[in-house]
């Protein structure tokens, strides 16, 4: 073992790119193992030259592996450092490498899933969707560019971090910075969710609660307006002065609910959905159910 092999930066860029496809051959037996091996190939090529060594390395990296696809990057980084030591003669056995992989994938998935799937994606998705709904093409563009900048930056930076920290990365995970980021992200997430529930869950109850005949002079008397443009002007002036458009003051059930706080019914539906989810009701059942409720209530004239 006179010659010490090093994984070059170019190898690490190639591995970073290949890690994009880590879920490509996701399967029910060993999950991300094929994609993991696929990502490790540039390193295996660099470090092991004989057919036997390569075969052993490939078998080692086709073991069970599954985590959030982005936080696989720091694990790849650490594994690269370990493989490098092993190839230059250090006593790193298969169990150590497998141990690091399995030891890191659980806790890291616990960070990756809530951070990316349940904080970054809903926030960027909501931002993009709100623009898209108004027909603004910047919605999808912003979503695509921001998401991929965050993703690619995160994957490269953490892979390098893992590679440099080597076996010591597990200590890093308990460090304060990562916890701060996770907590800060969930604060931001919950705050934005609160506003989205108010703005975007649309419920309108149409039944009329009261219908009050207004006093004369409190509404615009359409019959006594001057003809033509003059009449339009007078009407607009009267409306601006606070006169009602019709003889009746109509209050719907929705107006009453909005008196508590606008968006209350949307909040209640969201809480109901949360409760149903905890009762293990499938989201698909709930979505179909809400459509059925929408149709039935609409036909009955309640919504």
């Amino acid at each position: 073992m006179a010659q010490e092999m090093k994984i070059t930066k170019r190898d690490r860029i190639a591995i970073w790119w290949r890690s994009t496809f880590i879920q490509g051959s996701w399967n029910y037996e060993r999950m991300q193992n094929g994609g993991w091996a696929y990502a490790m190939i540039p390193a295996i090529k660099r470090l092991y030259k004989s057919k036997e060594d390569r075969a052993a390395a490939l078998e080692r990296h086709l073991e069970f592996f599954n985590t959030h696809p982005y936080v696989a990057s720091p694990i790849i980084g650490v594994t690269l450092a370990l493989e490098e030591e092993r190839s230059s003669g250090a006593p790193v056995d298969d169990a150590a490498i497998q141990g690091v992989k399995v030891g890191m994938m659980g806790p890291l998935a616990g960070i990756g899933d809530p951070t990316f799937w349940f904080t970054v994606r809903p926030i960027l998705g909501a931002l993009g969707a709100s623009l898209a709904l108004t027909g603004n093409i910047m919605g999808p563009i912003l979503y695509f560019v921001l998401w991929n900048l965050i993703r690619m930056g995160f994957k490269w930076y953490t892979q390098e971090l893992g590679y440099k920290a080597g076996a010591k990365i597990t200590d890093d995970m308990s460090g304060g910075l990562l916890q701060d980021v996770t907590k800060g992200a969930s604060i931001l997430g919950m705050f934005v969710l609160g506003s989205l529930v108010n703005r975007w869950v649309n419920v309108a109850f149409t039944p009329v609660v009261s219908r009050v005949q207004l006093d004369e002079g409190a509404y615009i008397d359409w019959d006594s307006l001057p003809a033509g443009a003059d009449g339009i002007r007078t009407a607009l002036e009267q409306q601006a002065a606070g006169l009602s458009l019709s003889q009746y003051d109509v209050t719907t059930l929705q107006d009453n609910l909005d008196g508590f706080i606008p968006g209350l019914s949307g909040l209640l539906i969201t809480l109901l959905c949360m409760w149903l989810l905890r009762k293990k009701v499938s989201p698909i059942t709930m979505i179909l159910g809400l459509f059925v409720v929408g149709i039935v209530f609409h036909v009955l004239g309640i919504m």
Partner: protein, 268 residues
């Protein structure tokens, strides 16, 4: 409307890309806001498809593959509903009906995903064999085959819908009575709650519920835009982190991930 050959090829390519991303979850081409918009772009229906994508995106906010679980398939739902919207020729008026079609498709797509993931199990056994011979190329080959299968999972249904043609699709949509489409629109206003509920269930702890309340109340002020909420949210997070360190007692709640509202919901 009828599509030209080039448009059909482009749509199938987008469907293929969406299928691949449905498993990779990296570039996000399977997300409605991107998949629907791209299909709108190549078929000359940009604005209706953009609005469809935005609406479906809100529905899909909480859909994610966690561990071995498979989420409703955003890829098939967005690709197929966008194609149906384009074929119907109804423009923006057809968005609500297209969304109602997208939901059952998301379930159908889930089934296709499970089938492909099962086939992939066979492929990794071929990889095992290649590994024994130290054959790097063969491993790469089988991995790429698995990715291509995931792409075909969406590309084939997309091609099938276009093969059936605009006629039957349009007839189907126009046969829908007004009470049904209006009712679907009412339901569409509410189903967003399901996505939000999934996300909240995942993130909620005792510590962060107050921030939900602040956000909810501030949202009643119509002049604050979503970007504005982002600004306030970041500021609140920074203030909270800084204060919880200064106080020294900030770790008092450490280890307590209780969720009071969740407990109430649970007990109910």
């Amino acid at each position: 409307m009828d599509l030209t050959i080039i448009q059909i090829i482009l749509v199938v390519l987008i469907a293929f890309l969406a299928g691949i991303e449905g498993i990779l979850d990296e570039f996000q081409f399977h997300q409605p806001i991107l998949a629907c918009t791209l299909i709108g772009l190549v078929t000359g229906n940009l604005i209706p498809c953009l609005i469809l994508g935005g609406t479906l995106q809100l529905l899909a906010l909480g859909w994610a593959n966690i561990g071995a679980a498979v989420a409703p398939d955003a890829a098939l739902a967005s690709v197929a509903s966008a194609i149906i919207l384009v074929l119907s020729g109804q423009g923006e008026a057809g968005v609500d009906a297209a969304i109602a079609i997208a939901i059952p498709l998301a379930v159908a797509g889930l089934l296709l995903t499970i089938i492909v993931r099962t086939i992939a199990t066979g492929l990794v056994h071929l990889m095992d064999k290649a590994a024994k011979e130290g054959n790097l190329r063969a491993i790469e080959f089988w991995h790429v085959i698995a990715i291509v299968l995931q792409g075909l999972r969406i590309a084939i249904p997309a091609a099938l819908i276009m093969a059936i043609g605009a006629g039957p699709v349009r007839e189907l949509l126009q046969a829908m009575p007004a009470w049904l489409t209006d009712g679907l629109a009412v339901g569409g206003g509410m189903v967003v709650a399901v996505g939000f509920a999934m996300v909240i269930n995942m993130m909620a702890t005792k510590e962060v519920w107050p921030f939900f309340a602040i956000g909810f109340v501030l949202a009643t002020i119509p002049s604050i835009t979503l970007l504005g909420f982002g600004g306030i949210g970041v500021a609140l997070a920074l203030i909270y982190l800084a204060l919880s360190k200064q106080g020294g007692s900030g770790n008092g709640g450490g280890g307590n991930t209780g969720d009071p509202l969740g407990d109430i919901i649970e007990d109910y």
